[in-house]
Symmetry: C2
Subunit: 294 residues, 2 copies
Amino acid sequence: MNDTNYTPSVAYLGPEASFTHIAAAELFGHKGLTPRPTIPDCIEAVTEGHVAYAVVPLENALEGSVPLTIDYLFHGGELFITAEISTPIGQHLMVNKAQKDFTDQLESIQSHPHALAQCHKFLQYRYRKIPLIQTTSTAAAAKYISEQPALHIAAIGNQLAAETYGLHIVEENIHDFHFNHTRFVVLSLRKEILDHKNHAASKKTTLMVKLPEDDKAGMLHQILSVFSWRRLNLSKIESRPLKTGLGHYFFIIDVNESEDHPMMKGAMEELAALGCTARSFGSYYVYETDPSSE
Amino acid sequence: MNDTNYTPSVAYLGPEASFTHIAAAELFGHKGLTPRPTIPDCIEAVTEGHVAYAVVPLENALEGSVPLTIDYLFHGGELFITAEISTPIGQHLMVNKAQKDFTDQLESIQSHPHALAQCHKFLQYRYRKIPLIQTTSTAAAAKYISEQPALHIAAIGNQLAAETYGLHIVEENIHDFHFNHTRFVVLSLRKEILDHKNHAASKKTTLMVKLPEDDKAGMLHQILSVFSWRRLNLSKIESRPLKTGLGHYFFIIDVNESEDHPMMKGAMEELAALGCTARSFGSYYVYETDPSSE
């Protein structure tokens, strides 16, 4: 935050040193951040006014379930997206500093199941015989090994976890797929646009579109025509089941344009004319976190 | 399996009594099933020929990360989908049988973070002051309370976990969103169609479609035209980032038709003519698990 007189309160999906924590600190600094144990806890904290913002993973997340975020966000329907933070996922192998000369004697490697899965090929090639132990988060694994200097154990986690718990990084970036970003969103009860520092030049807009009850084959095609002939580019589209029964879907659509663009206004009107229920979750900037600080 | 002379070996995302276990047992029975700790472990077991099939969550999963399945499945590119199992997610509150008269004295409730999140509203209304403790799986929580008859603790998990660990169910179906299904897929190296017992009447086909390098605004609309004018209905569409850098996407498309339908053959040819790379992961039946057994 550039405004030093104001520190907003921000809830993020914890625990401390989680990937969501890194993303939240990138935008808000370290003041005023409080961890919450689950995504609904984060969403409730902002919905009930306990905090000004909540930061939760939206896509390709390690520690949070993405469908969970989408379901609570889109079924609740009161919140707006005020910014997106796109963070590269860097997984590192780390040990207690007392163990740094004994990394050839590892007896187990601990981490969140998704982190172990993301480093599957590395672990197969380099540590095939070493037992893997699952923990509730990457940060919990880092914390545990920081408390056990005498044990030959390692954790997999991020840079912030290594710093927070004073660990030695044995090998950096051991995850199988590179260019692997997690998208985090900053949620608020107020429709606003966070404009703090460097960000992508153009805004994007996230829409939820529900088809009319009598939807038929080709309806999705018709919806996309609304954007296509206006040259509004979509960067994401995803169908999600409505919770009213099988076979009913709604769509999450990201448009690379601000919602106050004249073409966007026309698009929203045309969606309504087609019998669709379209709701905008707001326009916002995308903040890319600096890979070197990650 | 109806053929009693043959028991296929099946890897599923464990641990025992996981939701994936329920889905796998529904289709294959309980013989020949072995748990694997992560989704890549399941996929590798079938890719390397250690098992005939792997059962993993694909969408809206509790215990597995959905992006993880899609990334390993679609970047590996060797496997076919031979069946889908659609299972309602039923979360129940359970205690050790020695504790069933003391459920007003609960001191903690344990489960996987996603399960705690799925029951968020119930827990807020009924057990607001009770500490929630995160475990690595719902089954791990059930196992733990089965070993602690003297403690006033409860677990949240499924019916199979209650049966496996001999627990008393205090309250059924405490999850916030009903009609909440998880889609599991059965993967194989062989392109085949599992046709065991009752299933939906029609097959569906899952396609991965990569856009040409010079893709432009409206390309997705053009792709959907291929299906729309042939009256091929899509039940799902999702964009996923390619791992080659930012801004490049591929699409997962489910078509409600078998890939040997004449219209589907024409559609695949037209996609190629548009410069897209389209791959079919096979046609398969959807098996709905019986809610009463769940």
